[in-house]
């Protein structure tokens, strides 16, 4: 199972580099799995890869190697720049925002029913919204709320997913025949969850629990559980066949100790990559839930998804009200996606060129 480092070091066969294409023939799990299970297979592939590479003893570690490759990819750099700007704005938003996002200080200048809106001007850089609030301040403060929705939703998916997947993985690796049964049962449940469309799961939670920002975060997060679970389990199983696990067992280390302090830390890589991608999905899904009327009923405190769904009403008369939050969502999601995808590629020796 352990891959010899030399087989995947940078000075590979000439045609890999010369051809400039992904010429490494595929003999991974992806080919064996029926291809309709691509979603699952993609997740598994990521898990497997990170497992393979983590004991690459060649000077730089996997992560440093990946970082080196990412720092040359324009995709990764643009993603990182977007994410960095977004994070800075979100963190320092109270300092950046010139006005209070909830104060309707210019309420007397905006009349939505008469189609009178105020566009960008010196004191309000992005103009005013339909209640006479400063759009720029709302966007800036909204960045923080949006970040919170993304982060909390991702954490929910991560925590529950890691719990399920970690249990399944640990049982499968260390639990013997009985453990594999447990693993099997958990995985069947996860596969079924994977069969339910993400957004619909979120819609039911939100529809039944009632609309609020907490609901959105929970709903979006729960929908991500099966992906995280599958990923962590895959990584743990791939780690479970390592010599160091065998060594720990031979030394008489207890099962749960091996699982938690040996296997788990080494299996976190793919989960971290997935978290980046999930942040993007979470922000988009949260916007969709807001549009369905399941988001924060109190729209006074800004969040991009809520702002966007509120502004739809004025799209034909004052499109900028919707366009600003929409652009915020699109660009941020794009940033996280670019970063996640290029990280995944950077960690995948097969895609190296």
């Amino acid at each position: 199972m352990p891959t010899t480092p030399s087989s995947q070091n940078p000075s590979e066969s000439p045609e890999t580099r010369g051809g400039g294409e992904d010429t490494v023939p595929r003999e991974s799990t992806e080919d064996r799995v029926p291809l309709h299970r691509r979603k699952a297979a993609k997740v598994d592939r990521l898990a497997e890869l990170m497992g393979e590479r983590s004991d690459d003893g060649h000077g730089a570690g996997v992560w440093r190697e990946a970082f080196r490759r990412m720092s040359r990819s324009p995709m990764a750099i643009s993603g990182a720049v977007i994410v960095a700007v977004f994070l800075l704005v979100a963190l320092f938003s109270p300092l950046i925002a010139p006005y209070s996002p909830t104060s309707q200080a210019w309420g007397g200048e905006v009349f939505p029913n008469r189609n009178e809106f105020v566009g960008p001007r010196a004191e309000n850089w992005l103009g005013l919204d339909h209640l006479g609030r400063d759009m720029f301040s709302r966007m800036v403060i909204g960045a923080r709320q949006t970040l919170m929705v993304g982060v909390v939703a991702t954490l929910v998916g991560f925590l529950f997913g890691a719990l399920l997947g970690g249990t399944a993985g640990a049982c499968s690796v260390l639990g013997g025949r009985w453990g594999r049964q447990v693993d099997n049962v958990i995985m069947r449940v996860i596969d079924m969850m994977l069969a339910l469309p993400t957004l619909l799961l979120a819609v039911t939670v939100a529809a039944l629990v009632g609309p609020s920002l907490t609901t959105v975060m929970l709903a979006v997060g729960i929908a991500q559980v099966p992906i995280f679970a599958r990923l962590l389990r895959g990584a743990m199983i791939s780690q479970g066949n390592r010599e160091y696990v065998l060594a720990a067992r031979a030394l008489g280390v207890r099962g749960h100790k091996i699982a938690i302090s040996h296997i788990l830390p080494n299996s976190m890589g793919p989960v971290i990559v997935q978290s980046t991608l999930t942040l993007a999905t979470a922000i988009i899904d949260a916007a969709a839930l807001s549009y369905l009327g399941l988001g924060n009923p109190d729209a006074s405190f800004p969040e991009w998804g809520t702002m966007l769904s509120e502004a739809q009403r004025f799209l034909s008369t004052a499109p900028s009200l919707a366009v600003y939050p929409a652009l915020g969502i699109i660009i941020t999601a794009l940033g996280f996606t670019l970063m996640g995808e290029s990280l995944r590629e950077a960690l995948d020796p097969k895609l190296r060129n």
């Binding site: 294409e21 029926p34 309709h36 691509r38 039944l208 799209l315 034909s316 929409a326 969502i329």
Partner: protein, 334 residues
């Protein structure tokens, strides 16, 4: 082959069983539960208790689950709180509209996505490739309902190129045979109806197609790139086969396998996506109905819809499996 199909059908039983339990637990045990969705927020404890009893929620878990299964087997998904009619009937009534929309979206996604992905792979690293990859990432990151709104405002309201709502222009007379407007029009040769219906499908179809289009483009690109690196392609080139022969017979044919399967699966997700697009264009399909259900907390409709989507997903999965095994003997051997 037959054995394979039978085996896959048998494997469906535990999947469907598990799925039904999962859904049942999911829907019944959520905090609040159905009685909170059905009753106004200020209902008294007695009212809640009475409703619980009338819904059978005071029965043991297994009894509730079995009656849930029995009802589903009989096609009883409950009664819509909005219209007071059976949920399944409401779905059947609206199915043709959503089906037409989903098919148009798929046609758009495939006819643009496949060639685009293929060209992007052939001209890797060029501006075209960059645009295709960037465009598909952008497509995935754009909220579908926002895209729908933008399309509506620009092409329907500003430019007036396409109608902005409904399946047909009001006042247009048509003969209803199957409920599928385009099909009916073709059968009765009412060309004005066909034309009008198609015009109504363009914008919602485009909006709904955005995500499948992005996925198909990226998948085709990746798949073609992968196949172009295979040994047999190099061998074919080395044998001196003509480039076009290699491209069509060796590259394209093998590269399209995973894409075709993905198309099948994306088709299922279109129904879920319809909730976000149909409502924008007041398109009278299942999506608009479910959108209204989320607004009204129409609990039976939501349950029914999820059940429908989940079942559809499982069966599409089965079809994909079977068709795949026809194309690739290795799958059958597993």
């Amino acid at each position: 082959m037959l054995r394979f199909i039978v085996r896959r059908l048998l494997q469906l039983i535990p999947t469907l069983g598990g799925l039904s339990i999962l859904l049942f637990v999911w829907l019944q045990r959520l905090p609040g539960g159905p009685e909170y969705a059905l009753l106004p927020d200020d209902a008294t404890a007695e009212q809640r208790e009475a409703l619980r009893r009338s819904l059978g929620l005071d029965q043991p878990f297994t009894v509730q689950y079995l009656s849930f299964l029995r009802r589903i087997a009989q096609g009883d998904l409950g009664t819509s709180l909005q219209t007071g009619r059976p949920v399944l009937d409401e779905f059947f009534l609206r199915f043709p509209a959503t089906f037409e929309l989903a098919v148009s979206a798929m046609i758009i996604a495939v006819t643009i996505g496949l060639p685009l992905g293929y060209l992007a792979a052939r001209r890797r690293g060029t501006a075209l490739d960059f645009a295709a990859v960037g465009g598909s990432l952008l497509g995935i990151c754009t909220p579908v309902f926002f895209l729908a709104f933008i399309l509506k405002v620009i092409f329907a309201e500003r430019l007036g190129m396409f109608p902005s709502a409904f399946r047909l222009s009001p006042g247009l007379s048509r003969t209803d045979i199957t409920g599928f407007v385009v099909l009916d029009g073709l059968m009765t040769r009412e060309w004005d109806v066909v034309w009008d219906a198609l015009a109504h499908l363009v914008l919602p179809g485009l909006a709904l197609a955005s995500i499948p289009l992005a996925v198909i483009t990226r998948m085709t690109r990746a798949s073609v790139l992968e196949v172009m690196g295979e040994d047999y392609v190099r061998t074919a080139d080395a044998k001196g086969l003509r480039r076009n022969t290699v491209r069509t017979r060796h590259v394209l044919r093998n590269a399209l396998l995973p894409v075709v399967t993905a198309v099948g699966l994306l088709a299922g997700s279109l129904f879920a996506g319809a909730v976000l697009t149909e409502s924008v264009f007041a398109f009278p399909g299942i999506g608009s109905f479910v959108y209204a259900a989320t607004q009204e907390r129409d609990y039976p409709v939501l349950t029914g819809f999820i059940l429908l989507i989940a079942t559809m997903y499982v069966f599409i999965n089965l079809l994909v499996d079977i068709s795949y095994s026809l194309l690739d003997p290795r799958v059958r051997a597993q």
